[in-house]
């Protein structure tokens, strides 16, 4: 049963990966026009130079042919070279991935650690002042444009603090450009971007935990448990929280694509050399190979994340399997 379920999900995942890469390439090819990535802006280039460049990049073939070649190579582990700087795409991705993961995982962990207690408190003290305050906080957190929050933090904690000679936080980058790179230096650089990013998760998940918890606490089995004289603490934490967290698992699984591309704005604001920024900048330059490489990579993560969430869900909640 579960094997068949997983097999079906796997097949669907393959289709998704193919679909995503095909749609991306089609869009990119439609929007490119006559533009040749990389070198078109030099009047000294002769038409034969441009033609050769086009052929080198494979852009003289119809894009579906390019796609098939690309797909074939990728399946053999060859992501090709960037059309802009000639570096292997995989090198770019592997270089940026740790930075992105460092940022987003920290934000997610921060988000989970803070949002679950907040959500539970909100649910348990439903209607109280604490609950209202938490609601306002999370709803307000959701109403601030991320880039704006980031810029304001920089202006306050970097620029202004530095100006007054107080201890200040670095305004961008993963490490200090010179002599940096140790744990302390990395953490210092991580504080502001991770805070801004986790703000988003925090608002989302604390609301979600709250309503999920409320939902669970109203279920019959909780009432039964209470009626059986189980201590309130056990009711809440053993039965309530555990069941309330099931949907949160899905939600966090859904967040996986965001792990890579969701941090884009924060990466831009804090000059964080991550995957999102790489893809964004290269998409604007029609660096097909790099963009396709990142898209493929990210989609794999997404699909794997969804798959994992589905399977976990199916394991945690048997009803899913049979429906």
């Amino acid at each position: 049963m579960i094997v068949k379920f997983i097999a079906r999900r796997l097949l669907a995942s393959v289709i998704v990966v193919l679909g995503v890469t095909a749609v991306t390439l089609t869009l990119m090819d439609r929007t490119r026009g006559a533009y040749v990535p990389g070198l078109d802006l030099n009047p000294a280039l002769r038409p034969e130079d441009i033609a050769r460049l086009r052929a080198d990049l494979g852009l003289d073939q119809p894009f579906y042919q390019w796609y098939v070649t690309w797909l074939w190579n990728v399946l053999h582990g060859d992501f090709g070279r960037s059309m802009i700087d000639g570096s292997p795409v995989l090198t770019h991705i592997l270089e940026r991935l740790p930075n992105t993961l460092e940022l987003t995982l920290t934000a997610v962990v921060l988000g989970i650690l803070i949002s679950i207690p907040l959500g539970v408190i909100g649910a348990l003290r439903r209607g109280s002042k604490t609950d209202h305050a938490l609601t306002v906080f999370s709803v307000a957190g959701f109403a601030v444009p991320q880039f704006w929050l980031g810029l304001m933090l920089i202006l306050v904690f970097s620029v202004t603090f530095e100006h007054y000679g107080w201890p200040w936080l670095p305004s961008g980058g993963v490490t200090s450009p010179f002599g940096g790179g140790d744990i302390g230096d990395r953490l210092l650089h991580l504080i502001m971007p991770a805070t801004v990013l986790s703000f988003f998760y925090l608002s989302l998940w604390s609301r979600f935990t709250r309503s999920s918890m409320l939902e669970v606490l109203s279920q019959d089995y909780i009432r039964t448990a209470r009626a059986k004289g189980m201590s309130e603490r056990r009711v809440v934490y053993l039965h309530g929280l555990r069941n309330a967290l099931i949907p949160l698992v899905t939600l966090i699984g859904l967040e996986l694509p965001g792990l890579v591309s969701g941090g884009l704005i924060v990466e831009v604001v804090f000059s964080w050399p991550g995957l999102g920024r790489l893809a964004f900048e290269r998409a604007l330059q029609y660096d097909y190979t790099t963009v396709m490489g990142v898209v493929f990579f990210v989609t794999l993560l997404v699909v794997a994340g969804n798959l994992l969430a589905d399977v976990l869900y199916a394991v945690l909640d048997p009803r899913i399997r049979y429906s």
Binding site: Y35, L41, L155, V159, S271, L284, Q285
Partner: protein, 577 residues
């Protein structure tokens, strides 16, 4: 398609500049700023603090050691001077690789790896360079004429045709041969007299034959050297490159001009001008270009010295003069083109759009050029009445909707294109829209992505009018924008401007080495251009650079901003860190 065999060329710089506009919110262009002027005298650096204002001259002994961090908007693409075509790469290449020649602040050439300017043969075709004695690569190997010949071969020799060099089009056209009669002598013979040859092609960083010489043409395109050069011949050598983050360089003790004072130089990639400004204020970067809108706040923070100076970077717009297109029908009469320029109150833009850091252009040549004519035939000042009367006289009468139309009922109504994300250009289009609305012309701004804009300019030409930034090199040649042969697809004369007198002047100036004669021809050229105004240059920008107060010896200037920084080995930091 078919490119004329006629003499044509341009130093790369202006196209690099063009390329540079990649950066999403490219604020890049307005660069500037030397923190201090330095004069080297007997091991003592004398400097004037540019911003402290007073006449206080202090003498401080330059300290060795330490590092500086420069902030920039674009990441490097390659460290191979024959493959690079973008400013960021050229800038870092300039720190590691010297060419035969280098430029002074004012654009004059001086010897670098070559002892001096080359001897030019009487027919103007052959240049003989004498290299400095005992030149060494950073790994201790001798740098000889063979390395120079090898470097040029990559871009002109048919056996290296597969090297994807953006210089190939030019060099294979102009270079007949490059030879090394002895280890210290390089002889380059050109196919025709070409005035800007040295300026355009004499400054490429020289590559090591002992590293790259054994590679095939195709392998050179993807050589490890391009990403991590193992040797260099400039002030610094390569240490590491973290893409999207920083390039780290270290002092090259074998540098011909003597080892640099700094131990390390770090080139740090930042996303936009706001970030650069913030990091200048906090001291996270020591040197950086400043956007005019940030000038005051960077200056007010008090952590930096900041200066600006005129540069040959400008904003201009061009009419589409192709008679088969809408633009050709609207702008065919020069009176219309003139009227539109008269309607622009450019003096008011200096403060509103450029925060005081720009000057109104009076000619197509930049004021920084030796060929600049301050008062060409027609000088445009804001004159709305004149604009109106020119349009009236040209047969464009105001209709009931307030928009002018000609006798065929064609309305003076068009779109203006520029690249999205460049705030200054966005502002310019909006101000132009309003100014022209006031004289009955309906122009609508349209912002498109940069690759689309480039495609429109060089190939499809599906614009009515475009506005973009550009930069001239050291030589006054402007053929790429205004010579009729560059109306061919791929050429930069997207305006489709064809004028036989302009062609003659530009060609004449390119094929003589007589500077006075060239000057006369460029004066003629500027006169015609001011009358015809196919592509009015609106403003010339200022270069603005800020340097941390701990940095001494930076000496930015008009032609010493990016790739050419002959002063770099004299830069030092007061705290020695």
């Amino acid at each position: 398609m078919i490119r004329d065999e006629e003499a044509e060329d341009k130093g790369f710089e202006q196209f690099e500049r063009f390329l540079e506009d990649w950066s999403r919110r490219d604020f890049l262009r307005r660069m500037g700023g030397a923190a201090a002027w330095t004069a080297f005298s007997g091991g003592v650096l004398e400097f004037l603090d540019a911003c402290a204002g007073g006449n206080t001259t202090t003498s401080v002994t330059a300290k060795k050691g330490g590092h500086i961090v420069e902030g920039a908007f674009s990441d490097v693409r390659t460290f191979n001077s024959m493959l690079s075509s973008d400013t960021a790469s050229n800038q870092v290449i300039g720190l590691m690789f010297d060419g035969l020649l280098n430029s002074k602040k004012n654009g004059d050439l001086v010897g670098a790896l070559a002892q001096d300017l080359p001897k030019t043969s009487a027919d103007g075709l052959t240049y003989t360079f004498k290299l400095r004695p005992n030149l060494k690569w950073s790994d201790g190997q001798a740098l000889t004429a063979d390395d120079v010949v090898f470097t040029y071969q990559l871009a002109y020799d048919p056996k290296y045709a597969d090297v994807a060099s953006p210089r190939r089009g030019d060099l294979s056209k102009y270079i007949a041969s490059a030879t090394a009669p002895d280890p210290q002598t390089v002889v380059i013979t050109t196919t025709q007299v070409f005035a800007p040859f040295l300026v355009s092609h004499g400054q490429y960083g020289i590559l090591p034959k002992h590293v790259l010489g054994s590679l095939s043409a195709k392998d050179i395109n993807t050589a490890d050297f391009n990403k991590a050069p193992t040797v260099s011949n400039g002030a610094f050598k390569f240490v590491s490159w973290q893409s999207g983050q920083q390039v780290t360089l270290a002092r090259n003790d074998n540098y011909w001009a003597g080892p640099a004072l700094l131990d390390q130089y770090i080139y740090k990639v930042l996303p936009d001008s706001t970030t650069v400004a913030n990091q200048l204020k906090t001291g996270e970067i020591d040197i950086g270009p400043v956007d005019p809108s940030q000038y005051d706040s960077v200056k007010a923070s008090g952590n930096t010295n900041i200066v600006d100076f005129p540069v040959a970077i400008f904003d201009f717009y061009a009419y589409n003069l192709d008679p088969t297109k809408l633009g050709g029908k609207l702008f065919a009469q020069k009176e219309v083109r003139q009227a539109l320029v008269y309607a622009l109150d450019r003096n008011s833009w200096v403060n509103a759009i450029y925060f005081g850091h720009a000057s109104v252009a009076t000619s197509v040549e930049p004021p920084t050029s030796w060929a600049f004519k301050a008062k060409p035939q027609v000088v445009y000042t804001f004159d709305k009445a004149k604009a109106n009367s020119l349009l009236d006289a040209a047969g464009w009468a105001k209709g009931s909707d307030g928009i002018r139309a000609n006798k065929d009922g064609l309305k003076l109504q068009f779109e203006m294109h520029t690249n999205a994300g460049n705030k200054q250009r966005e502002s310019l289009l909006q101000v132009m829209q309003q100014s022209w609305k006031d004289i009955g012309v309906d122009a609508t701004p349209k912002l498109i992505q940069f690759p689309q804009l480039v495609t429109e300019i060089v190939s499809t030409r599906t614009f009515d009018m475009f506005l973009v930034g550009f930069s001239w090199g050291q030589d006054p040649d402007e053929a790429p924008l205004f010579h009729s042969r560059n109306t061919a697809p791929g050429g930069f004369n997207g305006a489709d401007f064809k004028n036989a007198d302009v062609d003659a002047a530009l060609d004449g100036a390119l094929t003589t080495l007589d500077k006075n004669k060239r000057k006369q021809l460029y004066y003629q050229f500027q006169d015609i251009m001011s009358d015809q105004v196919p592509a009015p240059i609106l403003m010339f920008n200022k270069g603005i650079w800020a340097t941390s107060k701990r940095v001494m010896g930076a000496d930015f200037g008009t032609y010493n901003q990016f790739g050419n920084r002959p002063w770099i080995q004299n830069v030092w930091v007061t705290d020695g860190k």
